[in-house]
């Protein structure tokens, strides 16, 4: 991708550079750079209070940055908020719904606020309710929805005007496993359609499976920008299980690979530090050739988790 931070002429996606924002004496965002190209799912990852929500509010044209430049589809949210809003779908972390309105009414109302005709809005609302599996609840008041259902309704609301940029703040929280799989598939599909998808989340293992790139933030600063290809190539822990842990350890020792032992006596596990996927494939081959009975061989955590933990280490 050649969407560098200075390239505004591309006209698609999200580009933010040098963002700063403080609330009173609290510096929520100190120095953030964030790029999310069209056609990709970009994760925004960071611990609580690292400024993720503040950055998303700035990208969503609700909050003005104290300094820095933002371009959404080529538009500046401060100068052209309406142009930006026509193109973004935003799902906040705090859920607010009009409790006495039904799911369908909420979607049709919001569609109306984007200037979409009523007849078109009705069709569109029905389609989205289908997509988020709320068709059975379409005419029930939002008040009775469970948290997960409200979350799905909120996602449908964010999609009602077919935005080209999606900003989702913790979209998976409160969702059951089935809905999480659905969400992942939906976001992947939207990205493949050419939309820009920005997801902030804590559930890193899930992001692993759908994101193309990730931006790590901490203490209001961007600390690392990583594409999934980079993440695969980075040095990381792999966990190996064997029927005979003793012979596994001997073999690893012989190859002079750094390792540590994890798990209890009933589920012994050896974790090895490997330089990337090629190194992992090589080790597995040599273990099998040495007749070590390997039963499991996999990355110890997700690629993003690995990065997160390595960044997190200096937090303490």
């Amino acid at each position: 991708m050649d969407n560098s931070a200075g390239d505004h002429s591309a006209g698609t996606g999200v580009v933010a550079a040098g963002i700063r924002r403080s609330f009173g004496s609290v510096e929520a965002v100190r120095r953030m750079d964030f790029t999310a190209p069209a056609g990709e799912v970009t994760a925004l990852i960071g611990p609580n209070g690292s400024g993720k929500t503040t950055l998303l509010l700035i990208l969503a044209s609700l909050l003005a940055p104290d300094a820095g430049s933002v371009r959404i589809n080529g538009y500046d949210p401060v100068a052209n908020p309406l142009e930006v809003r026509a193109g973004i779908g935003w799902m906040p972390d705090t859920l607010g719904t009009w409790g006495s309105l039904t799911a369908r009414e909420i979607l049709v109302t919001v569609a109306g606020l984007y200037g979409i005709e009523r007849s078109v809005a009705g069709v569109r609302a029905a389609g989205l309710l289908e997509t988020v599996h709320l068709t059975d609840f379409a005419d029930k008041p939002a008040r009775v929805f469970s948290r997960g259902q409200q979350q799905r309704l909120s996602l449908a609301r964010a999609l009602i005007h077919d935005p080209s940029v999606l900003l989702l703040d913790e979209p998976a929280s409160g969702l059951d496993p089935g809905s999480r799989v659905d969400l992942r598939a939906l976001l992947r599909r939207l990205a493949d359609e050419g939309k820009t998808v920005v997801v902030s989340s804590h559930v890193l293992s899930e992001l692993d499976e759908m994101v193309d790139g990730a931006v790590f933030v901490a203490r209001g600063e961007t600390v690392k920008t990583q594409s999934l290809a980079d993440a695969g190539a980075q040095e990381r822990w792999y966990s190996i299980r064997s029927l005979n842990t003793g012979s596994l350890l001997r073999q690893v020792d012989e190859l002079r690979i750094p390792y540590r032992q994890r798990g209890g006596a009933d589920r012994p596990e050896v974790q090895v530090r490997l330089a990337g996927e090629t190194a992992a494939a090589q080790l597995l081959r040599s273990l099998v050739q040495a007749d070590v009975a390997v039963t499991a061989f996999a990355p110890a955590g997700g690629a993003l988790e690995e990065t997160y933990m390595s960044l997190d280490a200096d937090r303490r």
């Binding site: 609330f23 009173g24 509010l57 700035i58 969503a60 044209s61 609700l62 909050l63 003005a64 949210p77 401060v78 908020p81 309406l82 809003r85 026509a86 193109g87 973004i88 935003w90 906040p92 972390d93 705090t94 859920l95 607010g96 719904t97 009009w98 006495s100 309105l101 009414e105 109302t109 919001v110 109306g112 606020l113 984007y114 200037g115 979409i116 078109v120 069709v123 569109r124 389609g127 989205l128 997509t131 008041p141 609301r157 999609l159 005007h161 077919d162 935005p163 080209s164």
Partner: protein
């Protein structure tokens, strides 16, 4: 999801489409809350009781009952309406903010003015529901006779206008203040300022306008052939202290009761025995017009001349009152609109955007 039907680039939201959508959203929520209906029933019962008591007590008096009952009803409806309208309007914006639904509106193509206009119209219409609930009693008073149809219509229209002004104050405050409790209390205080504060200010500042004038030491009056008081002045001129109320009468103009009372056209109605009755609103109007006229009109035998104390020839004061109240409401709404502008630059302490 078909993308053909939607063309994001050409998407715009007309001003009135936006206002109408916000209005519909608000009204739907109000109509679906039980509280509004409970209040309506309470309102109906209270106004009904007031009407019944008034009718009972005024039937003992002489003269046509219609105007007395009607004007008292108008006064009570205005009083209760002033108590009710802040509760219906002053949490419109910050209540949404607390519920997390304001940002969902702000992220759409709505502009701040449209949000405020839609919410104001919705709270106004909701408070008009109470006016409609009191119409049966007003019609009852009309049926007793003696009330000019024009006066009746003007009174109802002005009640509606006053409710609209209070709702605008409430909605403006709700956009300005961070918490619903605060904006509701401040709106009540502003209503009290208009309803009571104007009276107190007028009363206290009338001392500042006291001047010494000359007037006959002895005055007497008799009723002329047409029933109007006629003064005869005698004796030497002496110094008398009077308040030049005409200079400060404008303070009273901002009072909602004065605005409504002063706008109702009155014509003295006499029954078959020649008795006329004065309703409470007409009484208020007369007092205000006397204050407007000042001592020249209200002080008999000023400078030894028997002045004309009959008809008061002063301009109606209610347009000024409406102007003052409207200016207050407009100021608050405009300030509130600035608070709703996004992207937000300075955030009120203790509030979140979403």
């Amino acid at each position: 999801m078909s993308t053909q039907a939607l063309s994001p680039e050409a998407r715009t939201l007309g001003y009135w489409t936006g206002v109408r959508t916000v209005f519909a959203l608000e009204i739907k929520q109000r109509l679906r809350s039980r509280g509004w209906y409970v209040l309506l029933v309470v309102w109906f019962v209270v106004i009904g009781l007031v009407a019944a008591l008034t009718a009972l007590s005024s039937s003992a008096a002489m003269g046509p009952q219609g105007p007395v009952l009607y004007e008292l009803m108008v006064g009570f409806i205005l009083f209760f309406g002033l108590l009710l309208a802040p509760a219906l309007s002053a949490n419109a914006v910050n209540g949404d903010r607390a519920a997390g639904t304001l940002a969902i509106l702000q992220i759409t193509l709505l502009r701040p003015g449209q949000i405020l206009a839609g919410k104001w119209l919705a709270s106004w219409v909701a408070s008009m529901g109470f006016l409609v609930a009191s119409l049966p009693f007003l019609l009852w008073a009309l049926a007793l006779g003696g009330v000019e149809p024009l006066s009746a219509v003007v009174a109802v229209v002005m009640l509606g206008v006053e409710l609209g002004i209070v709702c605008a104050v409430g909605v403006g405050m709700s956009a300005l203040a961070a918490r619903p409790l605060f904006s509701i209390v401040v709106t009540y205080m502003l209503v009290a300022l208009l309803g009571l504060g104007t009276l107190i200010t007028f009363g206290l500042s009338s001392f500042l306008t006291i001047e010494t004038v000359k007037a006959s030491s002895s005055t007497s009056y008799s009723y002329g052939s047409n029933g109007v008081e006629e003064y005869s002045c005698s004796g030497p001129l002496t110094d008398v202290s009077v308040a030049r109320t005409e200079r400060i009468a404008w303070i009273l103009a901002a009072n909602p009761f004065v605005v409504v009372a002063d706008s109702i056209p009155t014509a003295p109605v006499r029954d078959e025995n020649g008795f006329s009755t004065t309703g409470v609103m007409e009484g208020i109007s007369t007092l205000v017009r006397q204050a407007q006229a000042g001592p020249e009109h209200t002080m008999p035998c000023l400078n030894g001349e028997a002045g004309n104390t009959g008809e008061l020839d002063v301009p109606p004061i209610w347009p000024l009152g409406l102007g003052l109240q409207g200016a207050l409401a407009a100021l608050l709404v405009l300030l509130g609109r600035r608070r709703l502008r996004t992207p937000v630059r300075s955030l009120t302490a203790g509030t979140r955007i979403a």
